[in-house]
């Protein structure tokens, strides 16, 4: 997972103000939820219908225009050899490639297969496992091609998507927060579920952007926006342990929606702190 910089992003010179950039939306292994977030922006998008050419978006339209495309939005993770080849082709056809959602940016919930017995899973789940061709891993898009921008979350945040499109259409700056979910949680004056209820929450180590949605419904953050700019995973683990969570449960909490992103950071931090 890349770290999104809060520094405003300068868009490529190729997208000049006033032109209608062509937009393509691609799906890989995913639930379609992030594409639905885009469709959910229908009212706002109507206002700028003449200024963006939707060239490829099978979820929304049957019209398909060949590339190259100014911008490709990519949803989903790479789980098959066919998809691994397809993303290379999409990258070649796209001036700007934006990954949308936890699957595309971190491998998604399907990355729970990584490091496990995938053949065993296939034989249990499918009546005819011989028809199934799949890779042993689910990997983020950035493991395969260069990614210009990542929109995180499961699903992505509608507001962040609109800000991205606005910046893209108008060559404006885009500023996405890299601070913790707690910042948004306190700003909306939600009571802290961890401090006040003892509910395990990944908010302090997770990047803002969702508006602290889950805590506002009295649930702990499950980390779908991935690690914030300086996540202290070992310190949070200690606290989760004090709240009564067993190590295996902490692992599960950390590794569900962003698979290994938190775990890898944690290991790095433990190594750094170990006396040499």
């Amino acid at each position: 997972m890349q770290h999104t910089s809060a520094t405003p992003i300068a868009w490529p010179e190729s997208i000049e103000h006033g032109q209608s950039p062509s937009l393509a939306v691609w799906k890989f292994a995913s639930c379609d939820g992030c594409q639905l977030s885009l469709l959910d922006c229908e009212d706002e998008l109507m206002a700028v219908a003449g200024r963006v050419a939707i060239s490829y978006f099978p979820e929304a339209t049957t019209a398909m225009v060949d590339g190259p495309y100014d911008v490709s939005l990519v949803e989903g993770s790479i789980t098959t050899e066919h998809d691994a080849a397809r993303i290379l082709d999409i990258r070649r056809q796209s001036r700007l490639l934006v990954t949308i959602g936890a699957c595309a940016t971190a491998g998604g919930i399907q990355a729970l297969r990584n490091g496990r017995d995938v053949d065993g899973f296939t034989s249990i789940v499918y009546a005819h496992p011989e028809y199934i061709t799949t890779l042993a891993t689910s990997t983020p898009i950035a493991d395969h091609v260069r990614v210009d921008l990542e929109l995180r979350g499961c699903p992505i945040d509608r507001g962040q998507l609109l800000q991205t499109l606005a910046a893209l259409l108008n060559r404006h700056a885009l500023r996405l927060p890299t601070t913790s979910v707690c910042i948004e949680c306190k700003a909306r004056q939600t009571s802290c579920v961890m401090v006040a209820h003892g509910t395990p929450c990944l908010g302090p180590v997770t990047q803002a952007g969702c508006g602290a949605l889950c805590p506002s419904f009295h649930r702990g953050c499950y980390g779908c926006f991935g690690p914030m700019e300086s996540p202290n995973v070992p310190a949070l683990r200690t606290q989760l342990g004090l709240l009564g969570l067993a190590g295996v449960d902490i692992d599960r909490l950390l590794n569900t929606f962003n698979t290994t992103a938190f775990a890898e950071l944690e290991q790095t931090q433990i190594d750094e702190r170990a006396p040499s």
Binding site: S180, G203, A235
Partner: protein
Amino acid sequence: MRRWLEVESGVVSGEPSIGQPGGQPIDWWVMRAGDLHRFISLLKSEFDEVIGPVAVDGVIRLRPIESADDLPTGFTEQQETGSYRLLETGTSLRFSYGLGPDSLKSIVHPPRSPVWTMRRHDGTLIVDQALHGTTTRAVIGARACDLRALDILERTQTGGQHTDPAFAVHRQGLFLVAIDCSHPAPTCFCDTGGDGPVADHGYDIAITELDHPNGIVYLVRVGTDHGRSLIESLHLAPAPRTFLEHRDHQHRSISREFIRELPKDAAKVVRLADHPHWNDVAERCLTCGNCTAVCPTCFCTDMDDIVGLDGETATRTRVWDTCFSMEYSHLGPGPHRTSPAARYRQWLSHKLGTWHDQFGESGCVGCGRCITWCPVGIDLTAEVESLGRPVEANA
């Protein structure tokens, strides 16, 4: 019950009251539960909004209230480092709780505040400044530390050459009903870090909830003419001296409850920039920013500029910022304070030390919110103590 009726009429025999009805101005009045309802109704008619303590989502928070029924009657709470639990007491006490996460900051210096809308039309820029609502607000439940914090915050936002217009308008519309603290949390240290638990200035009206053997009463005093005119319109009885003696006794017993303290020389942390303990804190600190959000004096803000999809309108909103953010210290090449140790050091050194240089006082009032609401329970009083030890002892 007869005894209370006598009190209300102000003619309890053998108990001289303070001030004489119809003669000298009254300094202390007595309010009972029914009067409290009348009082809040009066505030409702006087102000656009009445904000008070409410038990909601397991926390006592400052929220708009409709009547005295919304107050957290029978609730208290238990606080520790990184922990807050709402508890039921079974009593009829309404204000017998330690501070929740909300301070007056949320009201006068809200998390989001509009600044301007800018429109671009044919290459021309047109700026519309945001106007800040003139909503008047009465806030019930401010504690002495909250009033002190408001003073400090006010100095940062209006005390210099420039005045934040939003703060000024919100502050001007504020009417403060202080409640003397009867229940300091174990995380509090206002006796050493601030002014102590009893409100002595900065309020329009101040109330002591008296847990008297004969029943709960509210002792009322005023700090402004506006406060006096409101209280006088309720025609309350003057308070008998025994109640005031009971109040003194109640306050004395509270002062013994503080278990944390901030050393008098806490400002010295500024001179300990190279102390190895900063790295020790950094191993525990999540850099999540909860402490700065709940701190009643942390005032830092950022500007959030959002451009519409049409590309022709841009709205600027002032939002709370935190020195725990990397972007906060952005300089040409990138963030200046990258290490968590440097960010925690900035926060603590500013709060306890350089605040004196910048604003002539400490930025800490001893409310302990940063201790309770830190998800991993970092306690600044303990950190200051560790920083005070000789370096060898820390190794």
